[in-house]
């Protein structure tokens, strides 16, 4: 298989890079000064693209790579892949569901606790040598708070199960009602926000869900409510979010994703009621290795004519 051209779009995991290097002719997109230079040599030899949450395969790239057969994403999100174009051209797509569900759900709860209990501030405060006897600051309790989950898929469900252990009543909004799970359903995001202390974004990013958390939703969540985003930056109208936070109309936010990563609105840097993470939802050694193994296994299966492990199935 060493002669099969596999294009890796950006550095994402040195373990993955090594594993791909061992098995295929790995071409690193970021080593080329310009796309045109890359295409000159490789236009007709790339049979697979490996992308991630920041760079995938858009329509242009898919059209350019004449021999492209499969796009294998080092992510569960597919928003950086032109799925319509892939479907049109018969190009297969795989992603990394399940292996990262726990880490992302764990981080969502970690973000809620860090935000509500001001854990980052506490750590900073002690390290500043300013702790004096008798100093204390009251923070917000988590147990028992109502949690509203936007998107009750694998990750949303895992978050719900964790929140239940903290005696949190869980509600959700999703494309379809899921009565078996026993949580309270709201038919609109605004109603979900109105009835939640904590709103967690956990749905896929599509044309329908871009800026799904808009000004109206933020106002519904309100000055005592907090927003947690472990989905994609564009789920949230970031400009509106900055205004809502700096004007005190929204109680707080804990964000792992942003519209233009790694750029984060600087107005948020000085806010104590904001926790900002550099897209680390699946960022553990164990999970990244498991994701990498899945990417490699899917590619091997494809080129050996075997069934894909985690194919994206086309909906109607």
């Amino acid at each position: 298989m060493e002669s099969i051209g596999v294009l890796m779009m950006c550095p994402m995991s040195s373990y993955l890079e090594n594993e791909l290097q061992k098995r295929f002719n790995l071409v690193r997109f970021w080593n080329f000064p310009e796309k045109s230079v890359f295409l000159e040599t490789h236009r007709n030899s790339i049979r697979a693209v490996v992308g991630n949450a920041s760079t995938g395969a858009d329509a242009e790239l898919i059209n350019d790579l004449t021999k492209l057969e499969i796009v294998s994403s080092f992510s569960v999100g597919l928003d950086k892949i032109d799925l319509g174009k892939c479907k049109e051209k018969g190009i297969r797509v795989t992603n990394t569901p399940d292996v990262l569900t726990e880490d992302v759900a764990d981080l969502a709860i970690g973000l809620i606790l860090a935000l509500l209990r001001r854990l980052c501030e506490c750590d900073r405060y002690v390290r500043s040598c300013k702790w004096k006897y008798g100093d204390f600051q009251l923070t917000a309790k988590f147990s028992g708070k109502s949690v509203g989950i936007l998107g009750l898929g694998r990750i949303g469900t895992a978050i719900a199960k964790r929140a239940e252990a903290f005696s949190c009543p869980v509600s959700y909004h999703s494309r379809r009602v899921k009565p078996d799970l026993g949580y309270n359903y709201y038919p609109t995001v605004v109603e979900l926000a109105e009835n939640s202390d904590i709103l967690v974004v956990a749905c896929p990013l599509t044309d329908q869900t871009r800026h799904i958390v808009n000004r109206q939703v933020m106002d519904a969540l309100g000055a005592k409510g907090v927003l947690v985003n472990i989905g994609r930056g564009p789920h949230v109208d970031e400009q509106e979010l900055v205004k809502a936070l700096t004007e005190g109309r929204l109680g707080g936010a804990a964000l792992d994703v942003f519209e233009q990563e790694p750029h984060v609105p600087e107005e948020l840097f000085g806010l104590e009621n904001v926790v900002l993470l550099p897209h680390v939802g699946s960022g553990t050694v164990e999970t990244e290795n498991a994701m990498a193994d899945l990417v490699v296994s899917n590619l091997e299966a494809h080129f050996a004519g075997k069934s894909l492990l985690t194919p994206v199935v086309w909906s109607e």
């Binding site: 709860i109 209990r117 702790w131 006897y133 204390f136 009251l138 988590f142 948020l268 553990t284 164990e286």
Partner: protein, 320 residues
């Protein structure tokens, strides 16, 4: 003063959240004194009629203090821990002691889980990384450690410990414990001592009471047993850990890291910890929510009312 004081409140100046409620219900005397001489003089002058002390802030209550309160029959602590109170001396003098019971349990359990996830996923450091502009400049942040599947040993499976266990179960943690009471009804694996608890777990969470048997219960031997990837989460008392040894173990990589809400000599914290990236530090804040404060205020008031009307106390502490 119109009436002789019945209740003495001993607290730091900033902890005034009970003042109004107490003075509405009882004739109250308040002191902020913490050092012996001025305090004892104050007590001699003003506190001969005091029958109950409300202790807010864990100031040391020793034989000297008690001997200056001839009418004292009740000490109401707003902490769960009573390691700052000479319990045998109270017993000798026929003084009952109440604590915060379960007023804080949920918040402390939440906090313990928060510290653990914050440690494993490097949340405070990652937040600093973004807010200092480094993400845009320097690229990807360091990877964290997966929580799911971790073996978590709870030292002290009381009210707080049980709630911690319940919270960690859906995270896929494997729970075990060491406690003064081993019950058949508890679904978790029991270890007979702290060394074996540490040896068989990736994380140990400390939430037992501090007393003569548990002082420095987490010592060098326990930390070596826990091992270089092992993590300590402390939401109990600083005195549960041999702090000097712990600092060495953290610096030398004998243990993997720690999330600490308590220290031996608060607000003093060993400076060596400030430069470490394998610790999450917190200024004894696990109980600091309005809900917990409200709970303990109501509980303290209920204990006082019960005492003054000869009813059974709500949250008495065993004195032997």
């Amino acid at each position: 003063m119109a009436e002789s004081p019945l209740v003495l409140v001993q607290r730091p100046p900033t902890f005034d959240f009970m003042d109004e409620l107490l003075s509405r219900n009882f004739p109250v005397l308040t002191t902020h004194h913490t050092s012996s001489a001025p305090l004892l003089v104050f007590l001699s002058r003003h506190a001969s009629s005091v029958r109950a002390v409300v202790s807010i802030g864990r100031f040391k209550i020793d034989a000297d203090f008690l001997s200056h309160l001839p009418s004292l029959r009740l000490i109401v602590c707003t902490s769960v821990g009573t390691d700052h109170v000479d319990l045998p001396e109270c017993k000798r003098r026929g003084i009952a002691v109440t604590n915060a019971g379960e007023a804080y349990s949920e918040d402390v359990a939440d906090y313990a889980v928060g510290l653990l996830i914050s440690f494993l996923r490097r949340i405070p450091a990652a937040d600093r990384y973004v807010k200092s502009g480094q993400w845009a400049k320097c690229g990807e942040f360091k990877l964290g450690i997966k929580l799911s599947g971790k073996r978590v040993g709870i030292l002290g499976l009381g009210s707080i410990g049980s709630l911690i266990a319940k919270r960690l179960e859906p995270f896929g943690c494997i729970i075990s414990y060491n406690s003064t009471c081993q019950k058949q009804s508890i679904p978790y694996l029991y270890y007979p001592d702290v060394v074996s608890l540490a040896a068989n777990n990736d994380v140990i969470i400390l939430c037992c009471a501090l007393n003569d048997q548990t002082r420095h219960i987490v010592n060098r031997e326990v930390m070596e047993s826990l091992g270089r990837n092992g993590i300590i989460i402390n939401v109990g008392r600083g005195g549960l850990i041999d702090e000097k040894e712990m600092v060495k173990c953290l610096v030398d990589g004998v243990i993997g890291g720690a999330g600490l809400d308590a220290f031996e000599k608060e607000p003093g914290v060993p400076v060596e910890l400030f430069g470490l990236d394998n610790v999450v530090l917190s200024p004894h804040s696990a109980v600091a929510t309005p809900g917990s404060l409200d709970n303990v205020v109501q509980l303290a008031l209920a204990n006082l009312k019960a005492f003054f009307s000869n009813q059974p106390l709500i949250s008495p502490v065993r004195l032997n």
